[in-house]
């Protein structure tokens, strides 16, 4: 025994000496590896595995190398060691851990795309939850006001949150709020590793234009009584828009921690000249950039100061006064997934028309929040044109109709040449035309709010936009407006009651006044009582009344409440927007965006210039509505969840059309891997009168089965059936020939369905393949399909398939490649079937199907 003890201690002393002779597989060079009793090829294979595949986590990883068999491994076992080694620094490790969240944020487009950059920064460099203000907490994704107030209340009692368990046990916080917040925060003061971060993103998108956009560009630009059918008399044919340059995005973001940030974005819309083809002057003018400095100081407690120059976003309250975005989002409650980030933030989104460019400063602390912003930029506009196509001046300034968020931003040179070409056929009927960077706009705005109690704040927001070189002038009577918008007098009857929405656009010059500004002032509030938060905002556009007197100007109001339980939330929202509350910088809750169902939506072929339809297609502003919205999500048992379910009852202000819309989704999950979903949607539109004119009813039922296979692979199958009762559409039911409308008009029932299958396959954790196949039958009804990161409109009938490859090439280089093919019938088939006048020449065509392909490439480089 004594001998054994001596040998044991002796060997312990000698072990390190022997150990130094062992070769460390994670550190050895080629020369060291060649000393092992293996062939040169095997040594090279070990070296290559370590260099190009992975560091060794154990000796047994050697068996993953094809050149090393079991006997070689047995031979090597006593001769090698594996030290713990990792080439990833803290940042790379962090990115690896939360990459699934970054990927999810990166898939946000439209109104959320700028917001996702901010969240990504906080994912990579989290903040101390024990120092975050109410506003900061509230700006994190899926954190409710009740969650934020719960954290502050806990801190006010002198308790620190020292880990996730503490956070989760905070009284009043929801499971959902805590799990979403945990990736954005840390708990202890830690030594900051100061670091420079850089993200570069390149996107190449070659998607076809949407149906609305195509329709607008394909309208014929000639006198409506002429029968000329020349493709080049359309914007589509003239600009050869079927074969245009793809959409390109180059985005660079550089930041030093969360303190100094710089960003640059060049976005080229489909058909426009790319970054490398444009003049250098235009590149800077049409690009977005910012420089931001943020500091946390102690002036009045934990203060946060932010300074911005360049492009920035501003959103306050419920978005009624100021939330600048070119993108509309339906039913944006401000809670859950449709969250808005309050305050001033950097802006590298594709928002262009309502982009703010200048300087802003923001000061937040526990008791108040204040922001002041100044923007000076040139904005696109629909401009009044004379018979020769020159912009009309009135009283020394140009006359403009509205802002213009264009599907394709034509240069002035391009558009004037096209208009000249069309004018030969149309005479002087192009009365409005889009012009790039036309209005000189200067905005001074700000927000101030106080927070007297935890979870409560009261604020005021304002902005004043000065237009130096132009008057907004919109005719305030129907005849003049028809003269301006509608090409042929025979179509003036297309102007309906709801088109009064157009007459209510804001004018800076009319018979009552002449001014150079648009001014909006609003008041917002929020308070948390137990498990319920109450919010609201009231805003007025200064027209004829006094700026600060309430009720004497066009106004808008939102009231909302959010109640939170462990397995349930309930949102209730009331909104009431006046028809003449025309605030292009608002982005508040609504079902529809501006000009929905007006002649800009339905009768583009009657317009003096069909491009005005862009005012409808790309509107980000809410339609004037009044109504109440209730939304809930309730997990009422282990297996059953009522997913987002809502009821909305509202009135369209322009023509008093009433709508009820209900949507509910029940999810049954007997085991984790399997989800069975039943979704039902019902919408009824009607006018509250005895004639019961124009009632329409939509019913949609969807069944979806989704199951996870091994290795996180997933397959889902979906079937959808919908039916619509709608008012008579003579253009569908009657013969289009003169005097052909001889069928008795009746409410029409039509139905369509849709079947789809999606599959996700993970080859490894770095390589994922997704694909989908859809067959649909629309019969006049449209379907919407969510692909991996895009939404697609499906009209008529057809088949579509797509696939995308998501490749994590290395820890800082990511690639997504998507390809889509869509085969579908166009309405042309129907049109041609009706054109059955036997005296007309009929051509024979092999088919009238459409075949669209779409390509999307995204490359992300993060370091």
């Amino acid at each position: 025994m004594r001998k054994f003890v001596i040998y044991f201690f002796f060997s312990l002393i000698l072990l390190p000496l022997f150990a130094t002779n062992l070769i460390d597989l994670n550190k050895a060079g080629m020369k060291d590896l060649q000393k092992l009793p293996i062939t040169e090829k095997q040594a090279q294979a070990i070296y290559d595995y370590r260099t190009y595949n992975s560091f060794f986590s154990s000796i047994y990883d050697l068996r993953k190398i094809p050149e090393i068999n079991q006997s070689t491994l047995n031979k090597l076992k006593p001769l090698v060691i594996v030290s713990h080694f990792n080439d990833l620094d803290d940042v790379a490790q962090r990115r690896k851990q939360i990459y699934y969240l970054i990927e999810r944020l990166g898939s946000s487009e439209g109104f959320q795309e700028g917001v996702s950059d901010i969240w990504e920064d906080y994912l990579m460099t989290p903040r101390n939850v024990n120092k975050m203000s109410f506003a900061n907490l509230l700006n994190m994704p899926n954190v409710s006001p009740i969650d934020a107030a719960a954290i502050l209340k806990k801190r006010a009692l002198g308790e620190n949150i020292s880990n996730y368990r503490d956070l989760r046990k905070t009284p009043g916080i929801s499971h959902y709020g805590a799990t979403n917040l945990k990736n954005y925060v840390y708990y202890h003061e830690k030594n900051k590793a100061n670091r420079l971060y850089m993200d570069y993103q390149f996107k190449f998108i070659n998607n076809p234009y949407g149906e609305d956009q195509e329709g607008m560009f394909k309208e014929m630009m000639h006198d409506q009584n002429a029968t000329v059918q020349h493709k080049n008399l359309t914007y589509w044919g003239y600009f050869d828009m079927g074969h245009t340059q793809p959409e390109l995005i180059n985005k660079l973001r550089i930041r030093y921690n969360n303190q100094i940030k710089f960003g640059f974005l060049n976005y080229t819309r489909k058909g426009e000249k790319s970054l490398f083809e444009s003049d250098s002057k235009d590149v800077l003018k049409d690009s977005k950039y910012f420089l931001n400095y943020q500091s946390e100081t102690k002036i009045l407690g934990n203060d946060q100061l932010k300074f911005y120059t360049g492009n920035f976003r501003a959103a306050f309250g419920e978005g009624l006064v100021l939330e600048n975005s070119d993108f509309f989002s339906a039913r944006k409650t401000g809670y859950g997934f449709s969250k808005r980030i309050s305050g001033v933030t950097a802006d590298l989104s594709r928002t262009d028309e309502y982009a703010l460019r200048g300087g802003a400063v923001q000061w937040n602390n526990k008791y108040f929040s204040s922001s002041l912003l100044y923007s000076s930029d040139k904005k696109d506009a629909f401009v009044y044109l004379d018979e020769n196509g020159n912009p009309i001046k009135d009283d020394g300034k140009y006359k403009v109709f509205s802002y213009a968020t264009s599907t394709r931003r034509f240069t002035d040179d391009e558009i004037t040449k096209a208009e000249d070409f069309f004018r030969n056929e149309m005479g002087g009927t192009i009365k409005l035309g889009p012009r790039k960077n036309f209005i000189d706009e200067k905005i001074l705005g700000g927000h101030f709010s106080v927070s007297p109690f935890i979870g409560t704040n009261l604020g005021m927001t304002f902005y004043n936009a000065i237009y130096d070189n132009a008057y907004f002038e919109v005719p305030d009577n129907q005849t003049d407006l028809c003269d301006l918008l509608i090409r042929d007098q025979s179509n003036y009857n297309k102007f309906k009651i709801n088109d009064t929405e157009l007459m209510n656009l804001y004018s800076t010059k009319n018979s009552d006044y002449k001014r150079d500004y648009r001014r909006v002032i609003g008041y917002n509030w929020k308070t948390v009582l137990n498990n319920t938060s109450f919010s609201g905002e009231y805003a007025e556009l200064s027209v004829n009344g006094s700026d600060f007197k309430i009720g004497d100007d066009p106004k808008a109001l939102i009231l909302s409440s959010y109640s939170q339980f462990e397995n349930l939330y309930l949102v209730t929202l009331y909104r009431d927007y006046d028809l003449d509350f025309d605030n292009p910088y608002s982005n508040a809750f609504s079902e529809h965006h501006r000009f929905d169902d007006t002649l800009l939506d339905k009768y583009a072929h009657t317009l003096t210039n069909p491009l005005i339809e862009d005012d409808y297609i790309n509107s980000s502003q809410a339609q004037a509505e009044k109504g109440i919205y209730v939304e809930t999500r309730y997990k009422f048992s282990k297996y059953f969840t009522l997913n987002k379910t809502y009821l909305d009852i509202w009135e369209r202000k322009s023509d008093h059309r009433y709508t009820t819309r209900f949507q509910g989704e029940l999810d049954f999950r007997p085991i984790y891997q399997l989800s069975l979903r039943l979704k039902y949607k019902n919408q009824v539109n009607r006018y509250n009168d005895d004639a019961d004119r124009s009632v329409s009813k939509t019913n949609e039922t969807t069944c979806k089965v989704r199951t996870y296979l091994s290795n996180r692979d997933m397959i889902s199958l979906e079937y959808r059936y919908l039916s619509v009762w709608f008012p008579p559409y003579p253009y569908l039911t009657n013969n289009p020939n003169p005097n052909g409308d001889n069928i008795a008009e009746a409410t029409t029932l039509t139905h369509g369905d849709y079947v789809s299958a999606d599959y996700t396959h993970n080859f490894t954790e770095n390589l994922k393949l997704q694909g989908g196949l859809i067959l649909w039958y629309g019969n006049g009804i449209s379907h919407w399909d969510w692909e991996d990161i895009e939404i697609d409109f499906l009209g008529e009938q057809g088949v579509k398939y797509w696939f995308s490859v998501h490749d994590k090439i290395s820890n800082n280089l990511y690639l997504t490649l998507k390809y889509k093919v869509k085969n579908y019938k166009t309405k042309e088939l129907e049109f041609r079937n009706w054109s059955n006048n036997t005296t007309d020449p009929i051509y024979v065509y092999k088919n009238v199907n459409r075949n669209d392909t779409a390509v999307r490439l995204q490359l992300d480089w993060k370091f």
Partner: protein, 446 residues
Amino acid sequence: MKKLITITILLIIGQLFSYSLLERNNGNIIWNNDARSAGMGNTGIVGGFRLFDTNLNPANISLQKGKFGTQIGVNLVQDNESRSLPIFNFFDSYTADATYSSNINIYDHYSFASFYKFSLKNMNISTALSYRPLVDYNTNYVEEVRNDDSSNLGAYPPIIAKNYIDGSGLLSQISFTNGLNYDLNKKYLKSFTFGFSASYLTGSSKDIRRIEWTDAALALVNPDTLLNSYHKMKKDYTGYKFDLGLTAKISDRFSFGLSFTPKTTLSVDGNFDGAEINDDEYLPSRINLGIQYLPRNIMKTVFNAEINFTNWSDVNSKYNNTVSYAIGLEHLLYYSLPLRLGFRYDTVNYLSTYTNSDNESVTSNDEINIPTFTAGTGFKLMKNMNLDLSVQYSNRSYDALDLFPDGYYNHANLWNYIQPTNRGWENPDTVTENFVKLFTSITYKW
């Protein structure tokens, strides 16, 4: 003189016919014929270790493993071309295009190469001999012309004429390539390679364009007034082409490469309907730049990114010089099975003529974009033998004038309701093309 003008116009607008009608100006240049790099978006300027990759960069000759090797390749191309004309709804708005002619053709290409490598300490010198098709002139187009008889009764009207374009021929390249590789093993430069290639080009092309009236038409109109149309152009080409290339391995992970092909002159002898043609034609100069990145990944990964600058103005002063972008990926699934993916984006020129407001004929240039997806894999057939397989899919769409203008068929007795007239640029054809290319190659090395 008139004939000379006709020939000149044909030389500008329709000098060569390749497997796609669009490439009539330059022939269809086959930039790559290696199956591995084809699967990776035709990227192989740097790190292209198959023998055929010397066509992308002659410096690749020095990357060959073994002392002696050979490669054989068979490639297939399917071109699906549809020509459509615009149709309008009852509001006279343009809504879509109706296809009136659709042709699917399949063509094949064969390549061969062989190399020998001589090693000296840190240096090796390699030499190769190869044969490959460089420009393809094959094409096949058929169009039926029907009149308007009985169409309002839902029946197909009779065919009154058939239009044909038959093109054939190939310009082949026989190359002698040399390369030198030197291992420096310095911190920022592990090794560099240099390559040079000289090629002899030879080939011929034939193009026949004809219109044949059918019996149905001849039964309606006096046959003496309906004469078939037939035009033939034949050309023989010879020339010399040179390529230079360089690659540098900066570290275990990064390599950089470039290659350059100067403008190539082809001397052309031939005739058009009996009139002699003696002229020079040109292939464009081209600069290729590429990087290769080998990250650490569970699946061993190769990432290539390349830019190609092609000076089309060498061929025709009206052409724009174009830039192509490509990325390629190779993953080794399960440590052995390669999965290759790629995407490239090319731009080609297209000359179109139109009559301006002063009634002058003007030729202008349009650019057409072609996105291409690629995928491929490979198998080890035996110890030193590899089989690579790849597929490429690309599509493009462009506007073009009617190939056989309708006014030609306007004979009173042939039509009931309409008088066919020529369609100009106010209502052009929309041409859509899908290409599916299958690449296979076998490599054997000693």
